[in-house]
Symmetry: C2
Subunit: 287 residues, 2 copies
């Protein structure tokens, strides 16, 4: 039994490790899929991206629904005017690509939208998740890379040139000129999940690495709070599952280095929408 | 010859080294005075503050003008609701003081306003100085201490708890947990002006200190740009007079660590209003 005139959208969150997609009716997720992100080349990537989306299109079709649009969350810096990916540090074969145009042709659809993946994550958490009651919210995702987004004045703040809220690029080690994301890659040797497993199994060195990462993250969040003074920080991304390895250290260090006594009340919470947050936030771009 | 119905205001910029005051007609400075800031105790401080303001009141009186109000720029963190100074790191005898109330009683006036000194500096530069053509402007002052303020959406951004834009408290040395202002005090041994004189006289060590400070400042401004992505940064405060000792280094380091290629176009300029900027911005609080 199918209802006529149903309007769905499809949101895709392209992560450095996994790609998730949701079929979304504007309020809830009707179906979701996950695939590993191909890291070898663009051709393989496009095949798998198509394979991720097509079953959701089919699902909509058999239920008699119309797909109003498809939208992508991208882990990188975007040229919104040109609808082009400027730089995706963990998926370099996407650099310079007009992915929406390219994918629209492959799927035979008219138009595809895209936004930065952390913007998508934060948009979803603001509307449906941990940020619902707040007006001034910083979102940070820790996964393959580290990204940030800031919600203020009822919108995601973009900056004067689209370069705001680059949480992963805050310098944490002045002497080496090392940014937070670089420190994270160096510490976890690009295998945060495997390292987390070791830490949970009791490996003291692995625990120490996460402890040190917690310290770096705390310094970076203190710097963010000393500039933005938000009400709440929402943490997302794949590494949230392992956040008990570092988040208490992060909170302690962060509060230690926040200057304003009043601003120290800032909350840090994990996102509430789990691994679908980014895909939901992408789907929300379709109105 | 006096004109009737002239409405003036008095603005005072309380710095860690100097206090400046202006008599202001809403567009231009009619008279200005400067005194050294007493650092010994509150009693001496209040006497000198009164001595700074009274000649301007007198000047207004003899010209037949009405003083609409007096306003103070304070180098510290304020409780705006209580009109109280929370913490003035370089004038600790002001901590916890309701200075406006206290001074109003001493001067026999009804009410005095106050604001953070960097907010005052930036407000004046936005309206009359280097920020006139811009909508998204970060202001940083380097004097006895280091402070910041951010202009966006036609106002000074305060944050959720009044703790935003604390540029002096960005951590620049992760290992020692040292903030920019602490590094500045340590490097200049609390005598930036004397050290600048030595550097100008060719002292290589003094030049090296300013070079290192330029590096720290560049890292901090890069972190600010990576979060806020403003159009322009306006630098003020007493040390601006010596800015050729460090500002080219600051610019180079800042651009190196800004992530977004687009955001790298951010301008850094010196304020245009000179040492009166803060006092003008304080006077502007009187409408």
């Amino acid at each position: 039994m199918t209802k006529p005139n149903k309007n769905y959208s499809i949101g895709v969150d392209i992560g450095g490790t996994k790609m998730s997609a949701v079929l979304f009716d504007g309020q809830k997720v009707l179906a979701d899929y996950v695939l590993a992100t191909p890291k070898d080349d663009l051709e393989h990537f496009m095949i798998m991206l198509k394979a991720l989306i097509e079953p959701l299109q089919e699902k909509a079709r058999v239920s008699g629904a119309v797909i109003k649009g498809i939208s992508l969350g991208i882990p990188g810096m975007l040229d919104y005017k040109e609808s082009k990916i400027v730089e995706a540090p963990n998926l370099p074969f996407l650099n310079g690509l007009k992915l929406p145009e390219n994918l629209a042709a492959k799927l035979g659809v008219e138009q595809i939208k895209m936004d930065n993946d952390v913007n998508c994550f934060l948009r979803a958490e603001i509307k449906f998740g941990a940020g619902r009651k707040y007006k001034n919210v910083f979102g940070i995702t820790v996964g393959t890379g580290i990204g940030g987004a800031w919600w203020h004045n009822n919108e995601i703040y973009q900056g004067a040139h689209g370069g705001a809220a680059e949480a992963g690029w805050l310098i944490v080690d002045f002497k080496e000129g090392m940014a937070l994301e670089q420190a994270y890659h160096k510490l976890t040797q690009n295998s945060p999940a495997a390292l987390a497993d070791e830490a949970y199994r009791g490996d003291v060195l692995a625990q120490k690495v996460y402890d040190e990462f917690g310290h770096y993250l705390g310094i970076s969040l203190a710097n963010i709070v000393n500039i933005l003074d938000p009400e709440i920080i929402i943490v997302g991304g794949g590494v949230v599952e392992s956040s008990d390895l570092f988040l208490s250290r992060t909170k302690k260090i962060m509060r230690q280095y926040i200057k304003s006594p009043e601003a120290k009340v800032v909350k840090i919470v994990k996102g509430k929408l789990g691994s679908n947050a980014g895909a939901i936030g992408a789907a929300m771009l379709i109105s």
